[in-house]
Symmetry: C2
Subunit: 236 residues, 2 copies
DNA sequence: AAAATACATATTGCATACAAAGAGAATTCC
DNA sequence: GGAATTCTCTTTGTATGCAATATGTATTTT
């Protein structure tokens, strides 16, 4: 049995990760070493290493002699997001179709089943996390070490943006989210068939749907302000 | 005056970085915490944080309860490299042309002048490092936080591969490298003119030239084996 | 009274000491 | 003699204590 009890360091890493993805820790929030180490039951030394790792993956920003902060999402980074996402997503799904192993496809199907489930009876948090996991798996399928860093960085902010539009439950939104789930099924089919062109096109479709939701719900009056939290003092 | 004396931590970080880029530390080489901390005059705690940071950026791989290792370059990762590079490089240069500041353009020109200089009288090490810096600056110009992680990861292995073909000095190679320098000038011109289409095309040209060199000198008999070092025991 | 400076406090950065896990060698058992 | 096991030694992981840096407050000076 490999690793039945996860180390406190790992669980701390995971907990911070999901807290950031689900906006429980809002962009710009201050992360105090002392309180975090107390909360997760480890000393400051390993906690600092966790923060360094999270910084490398884009979850937090480190400032010299200052506390770590959850990475921001300003309008400039949103612009960057809109530029990079279709390209990277397309490439990842293309490669996923070419390289996916049967075991990975099985895991993707399981995750998609979970996604359908939480769409019906789960919280916004669950939906964002399971959707995030779905796309993470496609990244694992692609298995390109040079593309993965940017892909994972995109997934972070995609999940955080999603949190804002998985919440409302009006009819248009429900339809849009259901359509996303249908696209997931198509993506699985393309990957299973090894049809890389189809997978790449589906990535664009999936992204366009996502973009549409973002444009609609995140910036109703145009995108000027940071998302999630006021510019400073997010914890106060 | 900002930061006249770099901290031992920073210089350690920089030294390891350049040592890895220049293959002084070969892919797969073991990195011992004790000896490194002694070498750079800091304790193991900050050194471990440096290693974690380098791991996040793709310079080294960390193994649980085992030493850190310089990240490998096997034939599979080379395949990934050939797939990802043209796409990312094209996007970066396109964005660089759109967003470069005058100060950045000035720095790029200075770096290009240095590149010309080391082509004439520098070592392979100098050439790889200055060329690497040139492309790093284009990344800064693009300034897209989602594209940068993959771009920087590509630059690492590009520099390491370059080290193998900046060395020989036969006529064909010299011509190829000079052509690369000419392309740098064209890239600068396109960026200065804000011509993003031209910049994107030049990125492809530049990459094709680079790929040609790689195909010629790195894998004369086809690409089967890891680059640089034997699979294990690189320091022995 | 306003601004600048000095002081006090809180938080990060670093070093040392200790605990735990792995690798390798010697010994024992078959 | 070969293989497995135990023991030792090396190396990584964690905790604690101290030093350095930044922030906020109070005091002093103009």
């Amino acid at each position: 049995m490999p690793d039945s009890t996860p180390s406190p360091k790992d669980s701390c890493y995971q907990a911070l990760k999901t807290a950031i993805l689900t906006l429980e820790l809002q962009p710009g929030a201050d992360l105090d070493e002392a309180s975090l180490s107390a909360e997760f039951g480890l000393s400051r030394t390993p906690l600092r290493e966790v923060l360094r790792r999270l910084a490398g993956e884009g979850y937090v920003d480190l400032r010299q002699n200052r506390g770590a902060r959850v990475s921001e999402m300003s309008h400039t980074t949103l612009r960057d997001f809109f530029l990079a996402a279709p390209m990277i997503y397309g490439a990842i799904l293309r490669l996923a179709a070419e390289n996916a192993t049967p075991a990975q496809i099985e895991e993707l199907k399981t995750t998609q089943a979970r996604f359908r489930k939480v769409l019906q009876q789960g919280s916004a948090r669950d939906r964002a996390l399971v959707n995030n996991r779905f796309h993470e798996i496609t990244g694992e399928m692609a298995g390109n070490v040079y593309l993965l860093p940017s892909f994972q960085r995109l997934l972070i902010d995609h999940a955080r943006i999603s949190m804002t539009f998985y919440r409302p439950r009006d009819a248009a939104m429900a339809r849009s989210v259901d359509e996303a789930a249908d696209q997931h099924d198509q993506i699985i089919a393309a990957i299973e068939a090894g049809d890389s062109d189809a997978a790449a096109m589906l990535a664009i479709d999936h992204w366009n749907l996502s973009r549409h939701r973002i444009e609609l719900f995140v910036m109703p009056g145009g995108l000027d302000l940071p998302l999630g939290a006021p510019p400073r003092a997010a914890t106060a």
